[in-house]
Symmetry: C2
Subunit: 135 residues, 2 copies
């Protein structure tokens, strides 16, 4: 397994418009992209800080994963995504070590990345994403 850095931190918010003001006006970060991911029923907004992106996630449907998360836990940090070299090999290796995968095969996420999630039951409560830029 070769994790190179933290690619992004996903944060569930009720309103990107509202939360964006905090990240821009208070923390001084700049939103460089807003993108909808219909597959995940979310709108996303991205900010870069060092090597890592802050990814704000707003639910576009209340029955989507982010809508359900906010209903249960409130706004807050939703997941961590590690950049990895060799995503599919890593998933195969993780599975062989009895970690529960949400995605056994990678799929497309925001910004065109190949992504896959590990189940928080196997990761001490942290919803964990692995991602890789397509070659």
């Amino acid at each position: 397994m070769n994790l190179t850095h933290i690619e992004h931190i996903g944060i569930a918010v009720k309103s990107i418009d509202e939360a964006k003001k905090y990240y821009e006006d208070i923390l001084g970060l700049k939103c460089y992209a807003v993108e909808e991911v219909p597959d995940q029923k979310v709108k996303t907004a991205f900010f870069m800080v060092g090597q890592t992106k802050i990814e704000l996630l707003e639910s576009t449907y209340s029955d989507g994963p982010i809508g359900k998360f906010i209903e249960k836990k409130g706004e807050g940090i939703h997941h961590i995504a590690f950049a990895v070299k060799g995503l599919q090999d890593s998933l195969d290796e993780i599975k062989s070590k009895n970690i529960i995968l949400i995605d056994e095969k990678s799929r497309k996420g925001a910004e065109g990345l190949n992504i896959a999630f590990l189940h928080p039951k196997s990761t001490f409560g942290v919803l964990t994403e692995l991602c890789e830029k397509p070659i």
Copy 2:
């Protein structure tokens, strides 16, 4: 405000000994330090990935902040810490913009850093730490 990178991500765990196995054996990261912070009633374990540290936090007393967090929410991501240039000036600026600070003056955290927390009520649910290496 000048945030340079994500200094660390704090993750609340019941047992560092147990969680460490996952970060080392599954994710392939290396624990380079274990440190107790009596002031915070926690034991910490650090792993580096790119510019950012994963900081595992285990409560040393059940009435400490991490013990209470786990009791209420379970294990999982506890806070994000941004590295900032000019910590005290940044805190003063944030306060002037009506953000609630947990620490109006910085204090000593793990690894000898000067640290201060912003209140999640003002940060869309994300317990947010700012930190700076002492000069």
